[in-house]
């Protein structure tokens, strides 16, 4: 038989779980350890925020919340590689990436706290907000990428979806569109092992999730999502390709969901303690501490101080959230269409009437 096409999926990792470098071609940005340290600090900020958010939910001050515990390297790596003009399409837990783009923690809390104003956030106004219907955001990002291409703008659209979401037909549609139109698009598949209670292997027979991109002719890569150096390097590569008109990529970030799926979930029902314990040994902070300490860029005192600062910053956000007044009832109508249609005037008045207004 003749071979008409052949493909290899590579795995990218710089920093092993033990903090040792597994290859000696560190990317430019990582040679200056300070950049890595700054990223590490951002990761700590997210983790501090995340813990506060979970606590808020536990005390009834927040609705269902999706924790990002364990995903910090992937999220910060993705967000830090993007430019302001690029478009980011998150699923619902990539807070780290969004913080790097200017979204405020209080806005995350407002969203999960049942207030639409969280979606009118301080990040780039062209960024998409959180997307609950899994995978659909990928196509909105592909649509953004198509707009950039049509207008000749050197911008890139980046979308995140989970291992579960890699099964969603919209993900395939986005991948296929990106290939068909050679779009400046990066499909990040954040494989954290679980889709609520369904393990990665039940989602697909594909050996890697990166290879989903082959179905659309994209550049495919699997990355250690707990290694921020690898995440950032992979994103730099994919974004550069995209920005220069060379088309889309599909990158699988292998990480682990250390938390429950959301605060409404109880992961002990379906996954073993052993697995979680061993995942804690591969989580993204440990290796960075080792690496940065070795480079002389981090020490326990610094960590202690930074933690205090992270908590202080998080508290400011939590308080700002808690002080947010509920929206007046007419917002239901006033943000529905650009102008209130005549047919809704009576209903709007009725809603006000029930408010005694």
């Amino acid at each position: 038989m003749t071979t008409v096409a052949s493909f290899e999926i590579e795995y990218l990792q710089y920093l092993g779980p033990d903090g040792q470098l597994v290859r000696d071609d560190l990317p430019e940005f990582a040679r200056d350890g300070k950049t890595v340290r700054d990223l590490f600090r951002e990761m700590q900020k997210v983790r501090a925020f995340d813990a506060k958010a979970v606590a808020l939910q536990r005390t009834g001050k927040l609705g269902t919340y999706a924790s990002c515990l364990g995903h910090e390297a992937t999220h910060i790596g993705i967000g830090s590689a993007m430019q302001y003009d690029d478009v980011f399409a998150p699923s619902y837990r990539e807070y780290g990436a969004q913080f790097m783009r200017g979204v405020k923690p209080r806005e995350v809390l407002m969203y999960w706290g049942g207030d639409e104003r969280g979606n009118d956030f301080s990040g780039p106004p062209h960024d998409y907000s959180w997307c609950v219907p899994i995978g659909t955001q990928n196509l909105h990002a592909a649509g953004a990428a198509l707009a950039f291409k049509l207008r000749g703008e050197p911008r890139v659209a980046v979308a995140c979806v989970g291992d579960g979401g890699s099964s969603k037909t919209d993900t395939y549609a986005a991948i296929n569109s990106a290939g068909a139109f050679t779009l400046p698009f990066v499909q990040c598949i954040i494989n954290n092992g679980w889709a609520i209670s369904v393990p990665r292997n039940a989602q697909t027979g594909a050996k890697t999730l990166a290879q989903k991109g082959l179905a659309g002719g994209l550049e495919c890569l699997q990355v250690d999502g707990n290694d921020i150096i690898a995440v950032r390097a992979a994103m730099d590569f994919a974004i550069k390709r995209a920005r220069h008109g060379h088309g889309g990529s599909c990158i699988e970030f292998v990480t682990y969901r250390l938390s429950d799926h959301t605060t409404a979930d109880d992961a002990r029902r379906y996954r073993g303690e052993e697995e979680v314990k061993s995942a804690w040994e591969r989580e993204p902070f440990l290796r960075l501490r080792t690496f940065l300490t070795r480079e002389g860029l981090w020490n326990p005192k610094e960590e202690e101080d930074w933690k205090v600062e992270c908590n202080r910053l998080a508290d400011i956000e939590v308080n700002a959230y808690l002080e947010t007044k509920v929206q007046p009832v007419e917002v239901m109508f006033d943000f529905l269409y650009a102008e209130l249609p005549h047919d809704l005037v009576t209903q709007r008045a009725d809603a006000l009437k029930w408010e005694g207004r």
Binding site: D115, V132, P133, K168, I196, R269, A351
Partner: protein, 331 residues
């Protein structure tokens, strides 16, 4: 099981009980969806079923609603009785293509050669302080589609009997479960495998002054409103439509012939909600019985807000009482 049946159970437990009964008595029944297996479903509707019936009967699918719908249609066409779960109302839209173009048409298209005896269970509606897309009342979409049955129970007993009937029905059934009342109260539900009919409304309360027509979670507020009205000497008949499609309009017509007034209560947006069909039939068939304009107490024609505002969107006891009183201004 015989034991269990003596205990009062919630609506969600009645769902589980019906699934277990039918799986035990009919090997062709399989349950599929996201997280329905070891996790027992995000609402615990399938709790324990995989442990009892194995992973060949209770199947976790890949995370894709198109996949679930298409596989379900295929299973049903090939001799199985699949009961699929959409995890939330807001996630069922990608299933619509397979439901409308195929499930609802297999029998019609093939002149009876292939059929589609499937059930799609959908936790439905708002009021549980859930995130976006977890609170939709989208039943009306399906009521315009020929070939479907659309069912929505509002009590543990009706959940049990109607779900059994839905699974046994030889045609596709969209089975909406009002999640707000999943655990609202308990009721004794004998685990006797007795199904309820799929084409009659339930008269939950007799009355002579006005007919209150509703379904799903709003049955709660509507009954409360009837109670409040009774205190003021107003006698309200309460009908739980329960089987929206095909509709048993006879029961509603007869009630309105008696009371002369009708208030329709539902959670979905008013315009083109299923209440419109009931009001339309009254305009066609009960014109001369009506002494007052029909009233609809519904969600507004806007999206249900995120949870800080959602209760201001939903019909309330007060709103039902007020509308009823407006009808009583006429005689």
């Amino acid at each position: 099981m015989a034991e269990a049946s003596k205990q009062a159970i919630t609506l969600i437990e009645a769902i589980t009980q019906a699934l277990a009964w039918e799986m035990k008595h009919d090997d062709s029944v399989v349950v599929l969806g996201e997280d329905v297996g070891i996790n027992g479903g995000v609402f615990r509707a399938t709790a324990g079923l995989q442990q009892t019936f194995g992973s060949q009967r209770v199947i976790d699918t890949p995370l894709d609603e198109t996949t679930i719908a298409g596989l379900t249609v295929g299973l049903a066409a090939q001799g199985m009785k699949p009961v699929a779960e959409a995890q939330f109302d807001g996630f069922m839209y990608p299933m619509i293509d397979h439901i409308i173009c195929h499930a609802a048409r297999f029998r019609y298209r093939t002149r009876g050669r292939l059929t589609c005896p499937m059930v799609l269970r959908v936790p439905w509606g708002g009021g549980i302080r859930a995130p976006e897309h977890h609170s939709e009342a989208n039943e009306s979409i399906f009521t315009n589609v020929p070939g479907l049955r659309v069912v929505m129970p509002s009590s543990p007993q009706r959940a049990y009997g109607l779900l059994l009937a839905a699974i046994r029905d030889p045609d596709p059934v969209i089975f909406f479960e009002p999640k707000r009342i999943y655990r609202q109260y308990k009721e004794e539900v004998p685990d006797d495998g007795e199904a309820l009919p799929l084409d009659v409304c339930f008269v939950l309360r007799d009355g002579s002054d006005v007919t209150l027509v509703t379904w799903g979670a709003q049955v709660k507020e509507t009954l409360e409103a009837a109670e409040a009205l009774a205190k003021e000497g107003i006698s309200a008949e309460v009908i739980d439509v329960a089987t929206l499609k095909p509709l048993d309009f006879d029961t509603i017509r007869e009630s309105v012939a008696k009371t002369g007034r009708c208030v329709i209560v539902h959670e979905a947006p008013k315009t083109a909600g299923f209440g419109a069909e009931i009001a339309a039939r009254l305009a066609e068939e009960s014109m001369f019985d009506l002494v007052a304009p029909v009233e609809r107490v519904t969600g507004y024609d806007t999206h249900i807000p995120l949870f800080r505002l959602e209760m201001k969107y939903l019909p309330s006891v007060d709103k039902i009482v007020a509308a009823t009183k407006r009808t009583l201004a006429h005689s």
